[in-house]
Amino acid sequence: MPEQNMVQALNTALHEMFADDPRVLLMGEDVGKNGGVFRVSGGLYDKFGAERVMDTPLAESGIIGTAIGLAVGGMRPIVEIQFMGFLYPGLDQLFSHASRLRTRSLGQVTVPLTLRMPYGGGIRAPEQHADSAEAYLTHTPGLKVLVPSTPYDAKGLLYAAIEDPDPVIFLEPIRCYRLGRMEVPEGRYTVPIGKARVARPGTDLSLIAWGAMVNLAEKVADKFQEAGISIEVLDLRTLAPLDKEAIGNSVAKTGRCVILHEAPRTGGLAGEITALIMETAFWDLKAPVARVTGFDVPYPAYAWEDFYMPNVSRVSRVVTETLKD
């Protein structure tokens, strides 16, 4: 099995899907000759041509709206949005249409659409290129939201997304694109939608994370391990629908939980997870569920990025406090 980083795993998955299914298309800004700004679609244009790998005009709503039409009309479009912060002009297409067409038509009109985009911070990108806006999407019934943190999951979840009969948002943590390599099987396999992964089992405290925060959680777990404290790291992988069972099981076992996310704290997904813990593991809690997140400020320009981003020291402090009680 080849060792691949996340960009390579995704690129391979796309090449395979294009070869397998003539209905699969890719569309977006600079996905063609340029292969996307992070090269995730590298080589597709040369191999499958401009009809299936479509550079579009610079217009997110138009891109998503056209893809909705393509999906309803029988194709399997994959859309790339260049950065998550540029999804916003296209949100209406998700909120008003992609997420509702099935319901509004009582199941007669369906939208098998995959919307990929790089998200999150940590690479000193220019302003407004590092947003983590997952909570806007996870609050929208009718959408599914996936976030891989490893090359293996990236490929398997992308297969699951493209085979799903409903619109799926596929968030690619920029920080993880080239973070490390691992063995990634050739050919089709899927990672199930809606299932979290225990990235590291533990007994004393649950650290819940996704995307680039999983790596941070693992570092923190390593650190506490040295002090003899066993931290379980749960990589959610799917943010909608959330794996309530896995969350409940982990927290019921450990009795303590800290949730991490890059997005600003208020209204971030940590709140929802906390509410799910109330429903599943309240009586097991030995300490309040805590969270380490981005601050309630717009993601700052990169000179301030290190201040904004959760790091080992900030997480450790909250973990220590949560262990105290």
Binding site: A67, G73, S96, H97, S105, L106, Q108, P241, L242
Partner: protein
């Protein structure tokens, strides 16, 4: 060349800019003065178009009545716009994709959606407006369904189908960003799509002169390098021909057309609207009578000896019967169930929805 001088009542300022006379954007017309094109619609089809227009008018009047009785909810009639609704839809084939707005039940009907479904829709039951036809559910948000039509058109072409897509929208819709993005995409990808803009003079209380500084809506096509056409939207035969021709051009690979059908909304925006707050009854009056699309087509068919006063009466009676049947059928439908609300969010209900449905059923109601 016939100019749309009817838009100006005697001694009146033009009530909206769509009415301005612009030689470079002539209004295409079949019936009436200064006809620019001979009629090519066969008699039988013209008669069918007339019947459907009467049916639509009858239906709308019925629905307005039902709303007053509280038997249906907020309803947007298409009074005055029957020529565009019916003429355009008859120019399509069943294979074509339709992306309608909330006011386009007339076009949907011709495309295959029964009127009882329209009643159901007005009774607050979504889902009724898509059926065994190639149509999207009517778009409630303005103009944001236009990109869907572009995608549908491209999908049809990619799959080698002999089909186009058509989007219906209003003058107000031309202001939304998605109008621009859709027409621009259509121009770049030469999608086989028709953008049918019904310029009925008003977007709720906003006249088209407040909607844009451009003299016509058709000229917006210039911005995308695509074809634009103005047509007399109260002339069903002209609308039919322009849509037909646009469809053929699209299928032949000549790309999209933006059609501005100049018409007038005779009724309220919806049953929740009171148009006397914002427009003169005189203006409305000027569009009634001779300029009414049903009167016009009727007179034309009469002139051509295609239908007599007797036929006219029969058509009206039949229409009323049909409409009453549709209402009965709709009102006889089994009531909605909570399951409907939960089961169509995703192909497979995720655990949380199963749980929520169970909770709901476990509760008192």
């Amino acid at each position: 060349m016939c100019l749309l001088r009817e838009n100006r009542g005697p001694g009146q300022q033009p009530s909206f800019k769509g009415a301005l006379i612009l030689e470079s954007w002539p209004i295409y017309r079949v019936m009436g003065d200064g006809t620019v094109a001979p009629n090519v619609v066969p008699n039988e089809l013209a008669l069918k178009i007339y019947q459907d227009m009467v049916l639509l008018r009858t239906f709308d009047e019925k629905a307005l009545n039902l709303q007053r009785q509280g038997r249906v909810g907020t309803f947007p009639p298409s009074l005055g716009q029957e020529a565009t609704e019916i003429g355009s839809a008859h120019a399509l084939s069943k294979q074509d994709w339709m992306a309608p707005s909330y006011r386009d039940h007339g076009a949907l009907y011709v495309h295959g959606v029964p009127f009882e479904n329209v009643i159901l829709f007005a009774m607050g039951r979504a889902g009724s407006l898509a059926g065994d036809v190639r149509a999207l559910p009517s778009s409630i948000p303005i103009a944001t369904h236009l990109p869907h039509a572009v995608g549908l058109a491209m999908a049809a072409r990619m799959q080698g189908e002999d089909a186009v897509a058509i989007a219906y929208f209003g003058d107000g819709g031309t202001s939304e960003g998605d109008f621009h993005e859709a027409l621009n995409f259509a121009g770049v990808f030469k999608a086989p799509v028709i953008f049918l803009c019904q310029n009925n003079g008003w977007a709720i209380s906003t006249p088209v002169s407040r909607q844009t500084g451009s003299a016509t809506l058709a000229q917006k096509a210039e911005a995308y390098g695509i074809r634009g056409r103005r047509v007399d939207g109260n002339d069903a035969l002209a609308v039919y021909q322009v849509v037909r021709e646009s469809r053929e051009r699209a299928l032949a690979g000549h790309g999209p057309t933006l059609i501005e059908a100049v018409t007038y909304r005779l009724g309220p925006h919806t049953t929740a609207d009171d148009p006397t707050r914002y427009r003169d009854t005189e203006e409305v009056g000027a569009w009634r009578g001779d300029r009414d699309p049903i009167v016009r087509l009727g007179a034309y068919l009469d002139q051509q000896g295609i239908l007599t006063a007797d036929d006219l009466e029969k058509i009206r009676v039949t229409a009323l019967e049909w409409v009453n049947q549709a209402v009965e059928a709709a009102e006889a439908m089994p009531p909605v169930t909570p399951l409907d609300m939960f089961e169509h969010v995703y192909a497979t209900m995720p655990p949380r929805l199963i749980q929520q449905l169970q909770d709901f059923e476990g509760s008192d109601r």
